[in-house]
Subunit: 268 residues, 2 copies
């Protein structure tokens, strides 16, 4: 039976979504929880060589594999990542969620399952997705963040929200986003359609709400990093048009830090 | 010169506001930062016996003393705690804030100074305060919190917000709050006037907004703990009237956890 699950996670102390041999990943936390639920004995701390958390290393071939809608980088969070996996069980969905959450809590995993439902065998978390939404949060004030530590990008210089909003208009629509593409990006084409890029100020927080069918690697963080340079006066709004048209990563601003980014929705 | 400062802090890994000999306190973090700023040499990790963070122990008599509007317990946060202290310096307020924040960041203190202004010699953070506001946050959903870990009280059973709102009406106004008073409370009288107790649901968060001139020890957490029992059906709204009139702590519900509570404003 195929299941679709919606996850919340804190990417701070992980290497990101994808399973890695040299540290904890969100994929591994979830696969370990599912494997434990299915009755596989987890290997001991001695065997896995990780004394702090034996759940982190399960060996190279976990009994089950989880597929996600969008692999997030180290430090990036999720409000609603979507995954699918195939397991054989008779218990109802709500009970499966409770059981897996119990395993995640025991492992002190920075992940919680918000919802589980049965899916058709054709459903694929990544390939069936018709749209993805991200939120990027900037805390724009002089005092460093304490309650929102690792949850926002702290920018201490005042940002002009209106200018950033003007600049954002150039990025909307169908474009070659090469200027905002990470070198490691594996997408076949740099051409994407950006459906939404709203910038909303609320108190000392500035929130970017971004939606598209799909994104290039680092695209959201590179766009935010460039718009921030408009906000602090290093660029004019119309410079963003020039940067986009240059199709050259070196023209755009630095990649915004991972800690401000949240995968917020996946549409099917 | 007397200064008034507004602070944000995360109470999670502290013993609360008040300086203690057996662990880190928010008062000590701030007094240490001010002392360092004034040029006092902090004692070494060896001397203070705390290898992890030599800032935590400064000895029994810090060079300066800070007074706050409301001493918060271990685990309780602040969005806007107010303090005053007297120091001799010529630098402008904004520069003092930057300097103290630099010391707090170096010490990895869970505290940040939002604002500093000069105050009159008669100003006293505690005794000049005319009102205090708290926010209490409940996360009401089945999945345990990850992004809001240590920031909310996680309640997994559904709460009836309307019933809690009905019950809250009995607590508003001038009453003997003995039923909601901690045994350790040092207040002279259990009689207080509760000016506001709004309960607002937003998504899966339930927020209590509470205001009064002053509060008894644990009063907000005891009121929230009792209202939660109305929300989950263990009590009827009118039971809260009976509990209040009983003037007996044993009649009310358990104290709500510290992690959901925020000192949110102090009015002068």
């Amino acid at each position: 039976m195929r299941y679709k699950a919606t996850l919340e996670y804190d990417g701070t102390d992980t290497l990101g979504w994808q399973r890695q041999l040299d540290g904890p990943s969100l994929q591994e936390y979830l696969e370990t929880a599912i494997s434990c639920f299915l009755g596989y004995t987890r290997i001991s701390a001695d065997e896995c060589g990780n004394v702090d958390n034996p759940f982190l290393k399960y060996g190279k071939e976990p009994p089950i594999e989880v597929f996600c809608a969008g692999r997030t980088d180290a430090g990036v969070h999720a409000l609603a990542q979507v995954v699918h996996f195939d397991i054989d069980t008779q218990i109802p969905e709500w009970k499966l969620r409770e059981a897996l959450n119990a395993h995640l809590r025991i492992a002190e995993a920075p992940m919680s399952i918000l919802q589980i439902e049965k899916a058709s065998p054709e459903f694929h978390a990544r390939f069936s997705a018709k749209g993805r939404g991200y939120i990027y949060r900037i805390l724009n004030r002089r005092a460093f963040p304490v309650l929102e530590k690792n949850r926002v990008w702290w920018v201490g210089v005042p940002l002009d929200v209106e200018k950033m909003q003007q600049a954002a208009q150039y990025l909307l629509g169908h474009h070659d986003f090469s200027s905002f593409r990470a070198a490691a990006c594996q997408a076949k084409s740099p051409i994407k359609t950006l459906d939404k890029l709203d910038i909303i100020a609320n108190g000392d927080e500035i929130r970017f709400i971004v939606e598209a069918r799909s994104f290039l690697h680092h695209q959201v963080r590179n766009m935010v990093g460039t718009l921030k340079m408009v906000g602090d006066g290093h660029l004019r709004p119309e410079d963003v048009k020039r940067i986009l048209e240059a199709k050259d990563r070196k023209q755009a601003g630095a990649t915004a830090p991972a800690c401000g980014l949240y995968l917020s929705k996946v549409v099917y």
